[in-house]
């Protein structure tokens, strides 16, 4: 399987076999990701990291991944000190970044920005989140986390909770989990329901997702609870946000009703949706999930840029 020079824009650009290959390759990266072993396979390679929107985990884990592979990183973490501030369009910024580096990672507030970047760059482009659109590396690390904990993806009852309307991770994840034939339950406030087109995509892949507003009902049969933050920045008005923020809270009382081996995941940052008391329980997987961003991104970078 050849990933050399490939753009990573959307999880939908991958076949199931390719995802399986990537997840398998990711596992091999773990000792390098946690510093047990060392490698220099990407020595002399430069990754240009363009973050037009705030990020902690995605940016740091991309940088860590590139450094762990022996490569270098240039770029910016917020656009205010760049020519974007002077009114430069994205296409020109990308042309410039392309000439300075061997690969580009981009996060941008507008949907489709990474696809556009890939059109203007000769170097491969990795999408680190485009507005409410796609976030393929997050999706891969989520799949990897489930696979590592549950040993398979198929047949697990995965509950996606929270902002299912604006949340980019849940859209890609619902699609990918359907490819792997997981059972899906969507839990959200009425106003933040999973968009119809995502539900239709799941159905086209042979999965019939359940939808409910009741977390208490859904938690009992869940194998994986994937919690998301209600994202203030994606709401068109503050009033709508205030109506739904704090709709759900995952705490030890709720988890008493859950299966013994339920895992709780979250793309982070969390605000109020998971009580810190959950951190100490065996259910909490979100910090391990965040670590998994490093081996996943190492696998991608080495396959795209390596010899």
């Amino acid at each position: 399987m050849n990933f050399k020079g490939r753009d990573i824009i959307s999880i939908k650009d991958f076949s199931k076999t390719e995802i399986e290959y990537l997840l398998d390759y990711t596992q091999k990266m773990i000792p390098y990701a946690n510093g047990e072993k060392h490698t220099n396979v990407l020595k002399e390679k430069i990754l240009c990291s363009l973050f037009f929107e705030p990020s902690t985990r995605t940016r740091l884990s991309f940088e860590s991944a590139m450094n762990r592979l022996g490569g270098r990183v240039i770029g910016f973490a917020e656009p205010s000190a760049t020519s974007q501030k002077k009114g430069e369009n994205l296409a020109d910024t990308i042309r410039m970044a392309d000439s300075y580096s061997d690969a580009i990672v981009i996060r941008h507030p507008q949907e489709g920005a990474a696809r556009l970047a890939a059109e203007f760059a000769k170097a491969p482009v990795l999408n680190a989140g485009d507005g409410a659109g796609q976030h393929p590396t997050q999706c891969l690390l989520d799949l990897f986390t489930i696979l590592m904990e549950k040993k398979k993806i198929k047949g697990n009852n995965v509950v996606l909770l929270g902002d299912l309307k604006y949340g980019r991770t849940v859209h890609s994840l619902a699609y990918a989990l359907s490819m792997f034939k997981a059972d899906l339950t969507f839990v959200s406030p009425e106003s933040l329901k999973m968009p119809k087109e995502v539900i239709n995509e799941c159905k086209e892949l042979g999965v019939e997702p359940m939808s409910t507003t009741s977390l208490e009902k859904a938690i009992k049969d869940a194998d994986v609870l994937y919690v998301t933050r209600i994202q203030k920045e994606r709401f068109p008005d503050a009033e709508e946000y205030n109506r739904v923020v704090g709709s759900y809270k995952v705490d030890s009382t709720l988890l008493k009703q859950a299966k013994e081996n339920l895992i709780v995941m979250h793309p982070l940052p969390r605000i109020v949706e998971i009580d810190p008391e959950v951190d100490k329980t065996k259910h909490a997987l979100y910090f391990k999930q965040a670590f998994n961003g490093v081996p996943v991104r190492m696998a991608l970078l080495s396959l795209i840029l390596g010899d």
């Binding site: 939908k12 369009n89 507008q110 949907e111 489709g112 696809r115 556009l116 059109e119 659109g133």
Partner: protein, 150 residues
Amino acid sequence: MKELKVTPIKDGTVIDHITPGRALKVLRILKIPESTSSVVSVAMNVSGKMGKKDIVKVENRELDPKELDKIALIAPKATINIIRDYEVIKKHKVVLPDEVVGIAKCSNPTCISNAREPVESRFHVIGKDPPRIKCYYCEREPEDITEGII
């Protein structure tokens, strides 16, 4: 007295069986009148064998049927007739291409294709009857295709 609402043309192109009410949008897609100085007649809500329809006639100009395929986006049942000396010499039913570029705006206001970038709008055709399109950039599917016509 019998009145002929739509007169035949001697030479040119007739776009027939346009979804009623959509003739003006068809003209917009074809960039008419900017793209031609020929006489253009438009008839709307004309009764035909299969109910009401719109018709567009462009005189003295044979439009390329392939070029006209993109109107299938909003008029999937349209037919293109090339007329010479009052005779139909070529008839072609529009077929939606796999990709449409530069004729519809993405309905997602935060799609990068709506920003100040040097790209044209671009859609993958994911269904032909009824027509369904998905933005190449943001992957969203507009609910009403006709609203986005540029």
